[in-house]
């Protein structure tokens, strides 16, 4: 996939930014849950999905955010 879409900012950068924000928020909540022991009342809460799903989103978001940052050729 191309890095530039004939605009100053690539769509992949927008996606990277959004995934980074969401990943950070969800990971932070997951870590707070893990540390405080206040588990949400959901099934399979013991798997700590917010931690690994949030971390995955954060990693993907950072990759796209950096890889397609404005001005990068």
């Amino acid at each position: 996939m191309d890095s530039l879409e004939s605009t100053d900012i690539s769509i992949w950068f927008f996606i990277g930014v959004l995934l980074t924000i969401y990943g950070a928020m969800i990971l932070a909540y997951g870590l707070w849950e893990l540390i405080s022991g206040h588990m949400a009342n959901v099934v399979l809460a013991n798997l700590h999905a917010p931690v690994w799903w949030g971390a995955l989103m954060l990693a993907l978001g950072l990759f796209y955010g950096v890889r397609f940052r404005p001005g990068k050729q």
Binding site: M1, D2, E5, S6, T7, I9, I11, F14, I15, V17, L18, L19, I21, Y22, M25, I26, Y29, G30, W32, E33, H38, M39, A40, N41, V42, V43, L44, A45, L47, A49, P50, W53, G54, M57
Partner: protein, 601 residues
């Protein structure tokens, strides 16, 4: 009503304030889920992002080519993801998840045989003609090929139906938000439509496409966790099958084959959908699927925005891989709902039809269509729940943006320009396009409120849309692949094919026993009727064009360059490595498609 309350977080006062504000505006009925401030923040950030994209891209939508065709600068990936995303509305997500709960994996036919062959055909066979002739729309292609008659019929029917469908979807989405989150109907309708109107009117098709790609990522990010955790709880695919078999044996769910796609297709009465394999293959797999994926401008517009012929051919092929994967986030959660959803007392939850829920208010019943939100609430803690809800909202907005951007282009290019103002400046048409976008949203809102006051209209509006798809396919295919097709034949073929579809629909409404003729069996059900009605209307269009053209005078071959197979010299494309070649990827897609049919035979 089962409720999984989610723990609140100790987020900042700003988020809490936003949460309170939204709660005040969106106050409504008791709901399935309770959003935490973190969930509200996730949803709010999404809205900020889509509006930001609209404002950012406004500077790139000054000419009509930029506003309506995104400057024809999209890469194959962008166009391909947008192509699939415009179709991936939230109602489709929830509706087919509900159908999977009700009918099992048969519902996946709409994602595989009902999409993949048509998408590949568009990319490999039809796209060169659409792309080379530089049409702005599908009615525009008909105008070049057959003149104003067929084009005007197609343009008016498409424009009218698109905004009506958008309104119906808007109302249905608002109802879902009321059931799931307790949001007021007016709140959901106004907020979502204002957001869509803003970013499409500002940035045109480019903004719609960019947001659709963003929404596609969000849909996967928000919905993918459900089948993963569901499979963990059910003990994998084999565990799911064993539990379904156990529940059938215990009488907890109706009997049937929930995990095979073709075995029960031999007779109409052998499967709960009441369909036969001929209806699936020829009605759904050809007439409906090819009609939708190759001639509905809502999806074709995305591919026309590609930056080269190779990208335009690759886009539907790339989209086909993602389309094949969608059942993982739609059909699988529906199947998992059959074994994991429980009432508060630990017993298996049984979902029912909307009519049963409506007839038993206060009984705590849930409809089939609520299976996906119920699964989201079951597994998703704060933040993840907001992400899941954002995925549903994103799905709705991508579908609506697709509708209004396509409406805007068809209104401006195929109705306003040829019929009202032929020689205006380019800036004028851009302005008309922006206002058409806003007008489309306003008509959609009006339709939503019309449906709200008389829900019976909804079925008719949805049926209306299906009337035009198959005849349009007949006209486009005959025009694209037969040099002898004439202008008058196309007009009458399109008109008589549409009237056939309407006539069959009315006949069955007035006399339900007519189903045995329309759908070939008294055991056929609604879905089978749709498939065969589409097939008959295609056949009528095909035959009318064939017979009338044989008695008419076709256009000289020299005038058909770029429009018709056999009269067009396609531009030579630079050779590329095999892994970038469209034929290679189409072959892989065919192999994957066949493999899935065998795997779930």
């Amino acid at each position: 009503m089962v409720e999984f309350s989610t723990a609140s977080t100790h987020s900042g006062s700003l988020i809490a304030s936003a949460s309170h504000t939204m709660a005040v505006f969106a106050a409504g009925a008791p709901s399935l889920a309770h959003l935490s401030p973190l969930d509200i923040a996730v949803i709010a950030i999404y809205f900020v992002m889509v509006i930001w994209i609209g404002f950012y891209l406004k500077k790139r939508s000054n000419t009509s080519e930029e506003f309506f065709m995104a400057g024809r600068e999209m890469t194959a990936w962008i166009a391909g993801l947008s192509f699939v995303s415009a179709n991936l509305g939230s109602l489709e997500l929830m509706g087919w998840a509900g159908s999977a709960y009700q009918y099992g994996i048969l519902a996946a036919h709409w994602y595989w045989v009902g999409a993949i062959p048509a998408m590949l055909f568009l990319g490999i066979v039809m796209m060169p003609f659409y792309y080379v002739c530089k049409t702005h729309s599908v009615p525009g292609y008909l105008k070049m090929r057959f003149g104003m008659g067929a084009s005007t019929v197609a343009a008016f029917s498409f424009a009218f139906m698109t905004v009506l469908m958008s309104g119906v979807n808007m109302f249905a989405m608002a109802e879902v938000m009321k059931v799931v989150l307790g949001w007021d109907l007016n709140f959901s309708i106004i907020v979502s439509s204002v957001a869509v109107a803003a970013y499409v009117a500002l940035g045109g098709l480019r903004s719609a496409i960019f947001n659709e790609v963003l929404q596609f990522v969000l849909i996967w990010g928000g919905a993918l966790l459900v089948p993963i955790l569901g499979l963990v709880e059910a003990g994998g695919w084999n565990g799911l099958k064993a539990k379904i078999a156990h529940n059938i044996a215990a009488g907890a769910i109706p009997g049937g084959d929930y995990t095979h796609m073709w075995r029960s297709m031999g007779h109409f009465q052998d499967n709960p959908m009441g369909v036969h394999w001929t209806g699936i293959v020829f009605g759904l797999g050809f007439a409906i699927s090819f009609g939708y994926w190759t001639t509905d401008f809502l999806v074709v517009q995305r591919v026309l925005a590609a930056n080269s012929l190779r990208s335009a051919r690759m886009a539907p092929i790339i989209g086909s891989f993602f389309k094949m994967a969608v059942p993982f986030i739609v059909i699988l959660p529906g199947l998992l709902g059959l074994v994991v959803l429980q009432n508060s007392d630990g017993s298996l939850m049984k979902l029912v039809g909307e009519n049963v829920v409506a007839a038993n208010p206060g009984a705590g019943l849930h409809s089939y269509n609520e299976v996906l939100p119920l699964m989201l609430v079951r597994y998703c803690s704060p933040g993840l729940l907001g992400l899941g809800i954002t995925a549903l909202i994103a799905g709705f907005m991508s579908g609506m943006a697709g509708n209004v951007s396509a409406f805007s282009a068809v209104w401006t290019y195929d109705i306003y320009q040829p019929l009202i103002n032929k020689k205006a400046r380019d800036e004028h048409y851009v302005t008309v396009g922006r206002w058409a976008t806003i007008l489309g949203v306003i008509i959609s809102i009006g339709t939503a409120y019309m449906v709200m006051s008389a829900k019976g209209i909804m079925d008719y509006v949805q049926a209306l849309f299906s009337f035009f798809i198959a005849p349009l396919l007949g006209a486009v295919l005959m025009g694209m692949f037969w040099k002898g097709a004439t202008k008058a034949a196309a007009f009458w073929g399109l008109l008589l094919g549409t009237l056939t579809s309407v006539g069959l629909f009315v006949w069955v409404k007035l006399d339900p026993s007519a189903l045995r003729y329309v759908a070939l069996s008294p055991y056929a059900k609604d879905l089978a009727e749709d498939m065969y009605r589409a097939l008959w209307s295609f056949c009528v269009t095909f035959l009318v064009i064939l017979v009338m053209s044989l008695f008419g005078t076709p256009r000289p071959v020299a005038e058909l360059d770029g429009l018709v197979y056999g009269a067009t010299k396609l531009p030579a494309e630079a050779p590329v490595p095999f892994y970038k070649n469209e034929w290679c990827w189409a072959g892989i897609a065919v192999a994957a498609f066949v493999g899935l049919q065998i795997m779930f035979w």
